[in-house]
């Protein structure tokens, strides 16, 4: 018996045969050992038969008055016919795909976002050294991360933060310059002035003249420790004022905290899975009881830009996710703690929070929104250079 499995690989042809005694012709074909895989009878004196390549050759050699005409081709013949008929279309589609692929993977522009031209040039040169420049092939995400880390490492005195964002056919490079703390800059002649408004709580001056007093309100720019010693409104001598001025300053912080939280923990159960990924679909091999929630560590095994799918090897770890909700009071405490952490993160040695108070609290979209007032004991002194007047 014939196996249908191999039929797809062989060449077949469908023939329309017209004549007076169709049954007689079929009988003749049977005698000639010509296999008819399918037979249809569209009209009384017409039959459509499907025969293999070898049988078609036998049929062509047959001397008969019956007319036959090719209706359809199968197997390689079908592919060859498709190619013959749609050759131009197929070539154009493939060419279009290749051009599209090339165009979408070539970087046409680099946009470095920074106001300082020196920084822009520095970044441009560093990127060019790493192979990121105009009209080059787009780099993979992992490669970009490595380049970013390398540039940051090499220029750590100049660059604070760097991000390379691929957007279409261009890279947008966001960069943040590292700024030195101005407080540390020292001049020959300097005053210590207030950098923000507040009420002075303590003044320690190692040089210079204290011109403001405890519990006095000061505005930004007010001289706190003067570098000019005066007597009867006349400057006797000029020095470099040094010291620390602590004042009570005020902040208003707005914090949002979710009332619903998710707890995630790993159970320790693991699975190693081979997965076929096609667009957003994933088909794991031989996974009979997949984890409902899991943490996945993925390693790409087989991938190519020309292939629409890839093969990955994944480590799955079962994860249990539980949801809970905070009461109003709990959420308020959490929000206050968060706001306190934010303030504390900006404080330096000797600085502290004096008091705090919730001003407004409301619940909106499953979140608690709190406005908290902070009173902070903070160093408000900053150096300001001055040029002494010559007598």
């Amino acid at each position: 018996m014939n196996s249908n499995f191999f039929l797809g690989f062989k060449n077949y042809v469908c023939l329309r045969i017209t004549g007076k005694n169709i049954f007689g012709f079929l009988k003749t074909l049977n005698k000639k050992k010509i296999n008819l895989i399918a037979i249809e009878y569209p009209k009384r004196n017409e039959v459509i038969i499907k025969v293999s390549e070898e049988d078609y050759e036998k049929l062509k050699k047959l001397k008969t008055i019956y007319k036959f005409q090719e209706v359809a081709l199968y197997g390689q013949w079908q592919i060859k016919k498709l190619w013959r008929v749609h050759k131009v279309f197929i070539i154009m589609v493939l060419l279009g795909y290749v051009i599209l692929f090339l165009l979408s993977n070539i970087i046409f522009d680099l946009e470095i976002i920074h106001t300082n031209s020196n920084i822009r040039n520095l970044i441009k040169t560093a990127l060019a050294d790493e192979g990121i420049k105009r009209l080059t092939v787009r780099k993979k995400f992992r490669h970009l991360q490595v380049i970013k880390a390398k540039i940051l490492q090499n220029n750590r005195d100049v660059i604070e933060w760097l991000e390379i964002v691929p957007l279409g056919t261009k890279y947008i490079i966001k960069v943040e310059e590292r700024k030195l703390n101005k407080r540390e800059e020292e001049y020959n002649y300097q005053h210590i002035v207030a950098k923000k408004k507040g009420i002075i709580k303590s003044i320690e001056a190692s040089s210079g003249e204290i011109v403001r007093y405890i519990n006095e309100y000061v505005a930004p720019g007010d001289i706190l420790i003067s570098g000019s010693f005066k007597q009867d409104d006349e400057v006797i001598t000029n020095v470099r004022a040094e010291g620390r001025v602590f004042a009570e300053v005020w902040y208003k912080v707005r914090v949002e905290y979710p009332l619903i939280y998710q707890d995630k923990y790993l159970t320790g159960k693991r699975k190693k899975v081979v997965v076929v990924n096609f667009m957003r679909y994933h088909w794991p091999f031989l996974v009979f009881h997949p984890f409902t929630n899991k943490e996945v560590i993925k390693k790409i095994m087989v991938a190519h830009p020309f292939l629409p799918f890839n093969l990955s090897y994944e480590h799955h770890q079962e994860m249990i996710v539980s949801e809970g909700s905070y009461s109003y009071e709990e959420a308020l405490i959490k929000a206050t703690q968060l706001a306190t952490k934010k303030i504390e993160a900006s404080l330096e040695t000797g600085e502290k929070i004096i008091k705090r108070k919730s001003l407004k609290t409301r619940v909106e979209n499953s979140k608690i929104i709190v406005e908290i007032f902070f009173s902070v004991y903070e160093d408000i002194g900053i150096s300001k250079m001055f040029i002494p007047k010559e007598n």
């Binding site: 018996m1 014939n2 049954f23 009988k27 005698k31 296999n35 037979i39």
Partner: protein, 83 residues
């Protein structure tokens, strides 16, 4: 019947087989078609002949010693060569 003969028969069964379904009949290991028309199809096999009678009988598949006939089947007659 020894085991080799039984195995050979199992793999390469040369006996006549007829499978009848609603509206079609499948015959395997016949020798040749003796007569074909819309009402009768007569086939020759090793020990005689098979006569299939019905209406609108059509051969829909015809490969090596296999034939599939569709249509309204009425009777199937089997006769030996001597008849």
């Amino acid at each position: 019947m020894n085991i080799i003969t039984r195995l050979t028969d199992y793999i390469d069964d040369k006996g006549l087989k007829i499978i009848i379904e609603i509206g079609r009949i499948y015959i395997c290991n016949y020798i040749e078609i003796m007569r074909v028309d819309e009402k009768t199809i007569k086939l020759k096999y090793a020990n005689g002949y098979i006569n299939i009678n019905g209406h609108n009988l059509l051969i829909t598949k015809l490969v090596d010693q296999e034939i599939l006939i569709t249509g309204q089947l009425k009777t199937i007659e089997m006769g030996s060569e001597s008849e």
